[in-house]
Amino acid sequence: MSLLHWAVLSPFLLALIVPILYKLFRQIHTGWFVLILPILLFTYFSRFISLTKQGDIVMESATWIPSLGIDVDFYVDGLGLLFALLITGIGSLVVLYSIFYLSKEKEKLNQFYVFLLLFMGAMLGVVLSDNLIVLYSFWEFTSLSSFLLIGYWNERERSRYGAQKSLLITVLGGLSMLGGIILLSIMGNTFSIRELIAKSGELMDHSLFVPALLLVLLGAFTKSAQFPFHIWLPDAMEAPTPVSAYLHSATMVKAGIYLVARLSPVFAESGLWFWLVSIAGLITLFWGSFFAIKQTDLKGILAFSTISQLGLIMSLLGLGAAALHYETLGENIYLAATVAAVFHLINHATFKGSLFMVAGIIDHETGTRDIRKLGGLMQLMPITFTVAVIGAFSMAGLPPFNGFLSKEMFLASMVNVLQLNIFNMETWGVLFPVVAWVASVFTFIYSMIVVLKPFTGKLQLQLLERKPHEAPVGMLISPIILASLVIIFGIFPNLLSSSIIKPAVAGIQPSLAGPDFQVHIAFWHGFEPEVWMTIGIIAFGILLYKTLPKWQKVTQWIPERISLNALYDNVVRGLERSASFVMKVLMTGSIRTYLLSIFLFFIFSLGFTLYWKDAFKLDAGNFAPIGIYELVLAGIIVIGSVAILFARSRLTSIIILGAVGYTISLFFVLLRAPDLALTQLVIETISVALFLLCFFHLPLMASRKEERMTFKLNNAMISIGVGVIVTLIALSAHSNKLFDSISSYYLENAYKEAGGKNVVNVILVDFRGLDTMFEITVLSIAALGIFAMIKLRLTGGKDKS
């Protein structure tokens, strides 16, 4: 356990004490306590910048499950550090913002900050783990905490719906990713990412390579809301706005991008990877930007815009894979795509974070986020307006903001695709810049909608819930910091280029980004195609924005009922219906039916196996001699069992059954097993008593009187069948000695190893003590279950109070 381990664990530890702090200091907003941690962590991680800048990697190991090759190895390289800084940096700002956003009187702050801290720790774990299984565990933890945060206002139906949707889709992807991880570990014989990267050459030709690639990508695409899995993100906007800014725009949705970037060295040589990642990215880019225009909810627009921007980064990562097919660095224009991806990732976190916070402020101050009701807030909220302008213009790709720079780099990369002559790009490659350009026009339009609709136009006070005014200072600090970063990164992009971007690119493409590789970001490269494209975007964008009302209907050409959302709803509804159908068929509520099906299954499965494997064997030589005592006891058991069938009342049956049980315990005495005999005797006593108690609860039999059940051939056959099968198996088991009995080991070692002379008891408490532990756990669950069921039935399902 190193300091790095404690850094990743610290959010979890703090999450443990947050509820206590909340209870103790009700007067102080819990957020203030929480705020300290991300700031500390941010400072801690920024110390690594000087190391990763020189290409160094910090690696700390701790063993967890060495026998399975699963160790908690954290390592900080450029890529991991970039994400760690985003998580802690944006995390600090979001926590600060949430202090003013969530009221300490009305909200369940203890829950909120516990969930948020769980997420922060899990996300740090994802980006710093070297072991894929550890990464996967943290990955699912982020899905879980996202679920809890989306459903934070769980009294709202939409929140619950959104939470469930995000969980179903991201966990589906997570499980498929687990499959991919397992395939990778089969191929490379390791769970470590670094070792897999070292072996990437030999993995390519493995027959499992393509399935592993597809499964891992499914995980990444669902998490990063790539088409067609993007549908969960708009519904996730039901979460409180600080959460949307943090999880659903800056960090969690970028986990998929992180995974693609991290595993690029393993997969990127393959043409399939190049095509899938870049095409999925491009479709998502277009789809998200196009549908953003249709939205009327401010956060809805931002959600679709996030989808679109995630697609943009994803497509750049896909294109960057092409760089691996060119040996020299000098002419390697495709590496620039990866640089653009990393740069845009940072920029997106800054401008989208600030925009989300602006949306939160508007919601907080006016009570609505509907752009049809909002308007003319510019005079009332000048500071918020300024922040919104900076964020939105950066998103639209206008100078001098950072979005302009990365957008130019993006367009340049897309144009460069035209020169690519691998993977059949000569034919379809032309689509790349075209789609990118069209999507950018839409991006420009929705960016204008975000800033112009709420802030300009006519103020309609009668539509707003409360009279708007400028937000409190505390709420403005975080968006102002982010907006200043937008400008700083825009004017001095090279602050980042060698300290952050270059090491991160080196993490994505270690084979290319060697010491000779330099990142330099410039405003002006001369009249290259991307400049003309930007000018075209602005011109067309303004034109289309002005004529928006005339063509906005186009965005509604897909009717609701054939949309992806409807598909999702139908699948979920279908699952629920079939589940309840199966439930109704199987769970009739009659214990007789249950027993019938259990016994039938027992007979057929065991009987069939016995027949199919030809396992029946009778070896009489091994049998113990049968004496007079055994015959007498067996006779008593047979008589008792038959007598149960003919007993007049249930009471008699129960007592005879007890007699049979006592006789069996006498068998144990005969066979010199005092422990078993003792246990059987006591159990028999107690179960008879229990039976007598339950007796009152049994429903009356069919005839309303307590009469013997009529003879049923089916039941007779089933009961005889069970008896026969058990006997056959017992005889075969006794006759087939496949290996030596373990009993001699126990006899030898019980006293030597465990210091006990009663072997049965030593086995129970020592040799197989874990079994006993779980057995008593199961017993406890059963007892509490019975308690709960009976008490609930007594109160008719209602609380006693």
């Binding site: 005092p674 159990i683 229990l690 465990a754 006990g756 009663n758 408490v765 008593i776």
Partner: protein, 140 residues
């Protein structure tokens, strides 16, 4: 017909104690002779069940005001603590230790962490049986 269970009640008053003592004896002796937490627990429950049969639930809860659900929890807690205990000393889960000591009156006996584990089992078994019986019995 008025029930007359005088004989049962009188015998129970004596027998229940005998059974209880016997239960404790076989619980403690489990490591060397037949017995152990499971049987001991069952036998203790049997003694309580006998009390329940001879008297009624109200009387018995008056005699033994125990929340058996709490007993389950404490039993599980003790057992899992013994299981996990090894971890604090850098040895695998479920590692037991024992020591032979000479005590006044009791003589040469062994002190064994397995007894702690078995104590958990004992409590859980008593708790579970009595919770079930009491719950079902009360609901009549």
């Amino acid at each position: 017909m008025k029930q007359n269970d005088l004989i049962l009640q009188t015998v129970t008053k004596v027998a229940a104690f005998v059974i209880l003592l016997f239960a404790v004896a076989i619980f403690l002796g489990g490591h060397y002779s037949p017995g152990g937490g499971f049987v001991g627990g069952l036998m203790t429950s049997a003694a309580i069940v006998l009390l329940l049969l001879a008297f009624d639930i109200k009387t018995v809860t008056g005699i033994l005001p125990i929340d058996y659900k709490l007993m389950i929890g404490s039993g599980l807690f003790i057992s899992s603590l013994t299981v996990a205990g090894g971890l604090f000393f850098g040895v695998p889960l479920m590692t037991h230790v024992y020591q032979y000591v000479d005590l006044p009156l009791l003589g040469h006996i062994s002190l064994h962490t397995a007894v702690l584990f078995d104590l958990g089992v004992y409590l859980v078994v008593v708790g579970v049986t009595m919770t079930i019986i009491q719950t079902i019995g009360e609901s009549e």
